[in-house]
Chain length 482, copies 2
């Protein structure tokens, strides 16, 4: 076998360079024109699939066809999360520096499962997590020079699962990893918490019947005294309370659980306290919003998503623990084929033991680039801008004859509804979303169908928000015939 | 507030285009020169970190500095998984078409958690999974037009965890999700299985004491009669056997469990049968290697990693189930804020219910591009080439005076050791890895320290394999003084 005699099907590097330039041009065109597409895809089920060949190609084809199909087949099936008129769910922001980081990560193609399999992948990640501790004013015990540390996870769902597992491990002294769960452990979160807590309880063998959804106050925040009463009742029943998940900004209405008050309860009962600040956490970059983290200094673990509001492409969840030994003990396995001198020395972090998967991409580059390109100052500027826009929008609702607030929300989310009730509110939502000029989603608050105006997409400016408000008013008039 | 008066810290699109071109050039240079770097990073612990500023920058900086730091700080800390001289662990391949797909995915920045949040993201993924069923000759019941279907997961560890959860759900009739685990469920895998099975049992509350490591034969493959005996013993003890994980190509030595024989046992006892073909699965693209999947038609779930040997950048694990209802039932949660008309209609897949995380990237593009660019023919060619090289290397070992096989392996892995024993073998490994011209790792077989020569990196050609063999022989001579 001689290399020269062998055909190769690989794309050679010069062809790759030219195709990559064209791909960059495609992305630039896309981002330049993103406002011209309907934000919510208007595709019907199966509309994309029926344009694809039923069978995989026997022979390879040129790149032209692929880029063309991206435009003709894929784009109409895209809901444009990077449109400045995207006000649905929460933002899942990208930004140019983050995309550049993704390109480098894809080009290097390394695995960071152990320190030795690419020391830079682990060390840059640890360093970025330490930077975030400083940037957000998080407690020093989450920094890597203490007993704690941070790690990039796939998503907040994964981070919350890992927090639950670390708590389970600490509470049972390793027993649950060995003997399995026994139906006695009880977890707590607010009745408004994200579905990921319930999912984590299912996955970890805790069971949803052993997850207590604690009562909330009029702002949909957890009531610490209700938590305390529930824990006491469970203990009296012979159960084993072990884990409390508080939310700093619920998905539904950005409710802020009173972490400091909750921490007094978890501390008294010696339970693991986890803080889920998935979207809102980014706000703490601005000192004036850092009140959201009051009490976090007592939390055993904390998570937020730079891939939501911090201009860093998905996936990039940041997860911090005060006692990394509990986390590692919950998830560590060391088969012979993964052993190496660096691991055996104990001098390095092997991030495979900090989460579910073994393999891991080099995700710290994009975070490094975002922080360096914007600087703390630039990030603060855009976060403040988003918050100001949302608070201005909230005033418009307050002074509107047609709409009313669902709850008074802080930061960058506004919850509101039409005064004529659920049916009208829902019809307004479907109408504006079908119109394609904006996209927003809903929740239920006090059993009312409630719209969520989430302002945080990278490029959202005042003109997008004013235009959205004009549309909502116009559609409301059309729907109600007023 | 007026848009024009507001400073913006965003990189404008023309600046992004130019920076992206330069980034592409950096990646092309990297790939062109990857053979010139030591394959295993020679960095010492903390060598990367100590070059990074202790504090995040207050002001933003230009992109020049970032690209320069990639070269000067990051590259020396990289272990080069994309070097053709990388023979360690298993391949984690990238390829130009896959990188192009990653760029587009990063540029679109969409979330595919629900069908409605980008129909193309879900439909292209379902379509690619169906293509893989055809390409690998997998049973039709994994295709989406049946009760089954496929989904991209983050890693094989995640896929195996999901298989375990679906099995748990089916066996307990939903009881484990509600009441939690009770320590009675028992899982089975071979004594040579990947650590991810044990990890999944820890995570899912099954407990490692309830994972039976079934005896293997002289080729390190599971013994079906030992499995049957163990299941009977557990049933007799009042326990509830529920899940068997077979390996089609163990990590340690590429051992192939006899899936068809195991399936007779799982079928008789009505247990969930999962097949983990993480690396080796790709071989089934070639009809002559499809024997590895004998018996898979009886498996409830199957997984392999296009991100290992199929030239598709991490992360891209393919996971198939015959009964998607069991999987979805194990993982589904539908809070109000995720409800939408398409989901309520039941006409679409919402992939958030097929795995742990809620958010998900558009990972199907890179897989689509790889399959289209190479064609089935091109993929077959390179897989055959890797297998032929490994089998040739094996013959060199067999005919060597210094080395001997640890076990006779099929496909693209060779397990071998020096005839003078563990200490010499280990010293040879450390010496060649420190030398930087190649990188290979080890396992233990029959309690012997054994080297693993894994041949499957995208660009590995015959000259790299012959050079590796020459180095191993030369180092062996130096080490033994012969």
């Amino acid at each position: 076998m001689n290399d020269k005699d062998q055909p190769s099907y690989h794309m050679d590097l010069e062809e790759f360079r030219q195709n990559a330039y064209r791909t960059i041009d495609w992305v630039v065109d896309y981002l330049a024109n993103v406002e011209s597409y309907p934000v919510l895809s208007q595709a019907e089920p199966n509309e994309v699939r029926r344009q694809l060949p039923a069978e995989p190609p026997e022979k390879g084809e040129g790149y032209d066809a692929m880029l063309r199909d991206m435009t003709e087949i894929v784009l109409p099936g895209i809901t444009h999360w990077q449109s400045p008129n995207f006000f649905a769910f929460f933002p899942a922001n990208s930004s140019p520096p983050a995309i550049l980081g993704e390109i480098l990560s894809a080009g290097l193609g390394v695995q960071g499962m152990s320190w030795a399999t690419s020391p830079a992948c682990t060390e840059l990640e640890t360093h970025m997590m330490d930077w975030l501790v400083q940037m957000l004013g998080l407690p020093e015990r989450y920094a890597s020079h203490t007993d704690g540390g941070g790690v990039i996870q796939h998503s907040a769902s994964d981070a919350t699962l890992c927090a639950l597992l670390a708590a389970r491990e600490r509470t049972t002294g390793g027993g649950s990893n060995k003997a399995g769960c026994d139906g006695q452990l009880v977890a707590y979160t607010s009745a408004q918490a994200h579905s990921s807590i319930e999912k984590a309880c299912m996955i970890a063998g805790i069971g949803t019947e052993n997850l207590r959804l604690v009562d909330v106050d009029e702002n949909f925040a957890m009531r610490p005294e209700a938590l305390d009463a529930q824990i006491r009742a469970d203990k009296a029943a012979g159960l084993v309370p072990f884990f409390v998940c508080t939310c700093v900004g619920t998905t539904s209405s950005l409710a802020l659980d009173p972490v400091a008050e909750v921490a007094k309860v978890t501390s008294a009962h010696e339970l693991w306290l986890h803080v889920d600040a998935a979207m809102a956490g980014t706000a703490a970059i601005c000192p004036e919003f850092r009140f959201i983290n009051d009490g976090v200094e007592s939390a055993d673990s904390y998570t937020f998503n730079p891939h939501k509001w911090m201009f860093t492409n998905f996936d990039c969840n940041a997860f911090f623990v005060a006692d990394r030994a509990a986390l590692i003990s919950a998830l560590s396995i060391l088969p012979e084929y993964l052993r190496n001198q660096a691991t055996d020395s104990g001098a390095v972090f092997d991030y495979r033991d900090w989460h579910v998967p073994l393999g891991r991409r080099f995700r710290a580059i994009k975070l490094w680039f975002v922080i360096r390109y914007y600087g703390v100052q630039g990030l603060q500027h855009h976060i403040r801008e988003h918050v100001a826009l949302a608070q201005e929008f909230k005033q418009w609702v307050i002074h509107s004859d047609d709409f009313e607030l669902g709850v008074d929300t802080p930061l960058n989310l506004v919850c509101f509804r039409h005064r004529d009730g659920d049916a009208v509110t829902e019809q307004i939502m479907h109408t504006v979303n079908r119109g394609g000029d904006m996209y927003l989603t809903h929740t239920r608050l006090d059993d009312h169908f409630t719209l969520r105006m989430s302002i945080g997409q990278t490029n959202t400016q005042r003109r997008h928000v004013t235009s959205a408000w004009e549309q909502l008013q116009a559609v409301a008039s059309a729907v109600t015939g007023s």
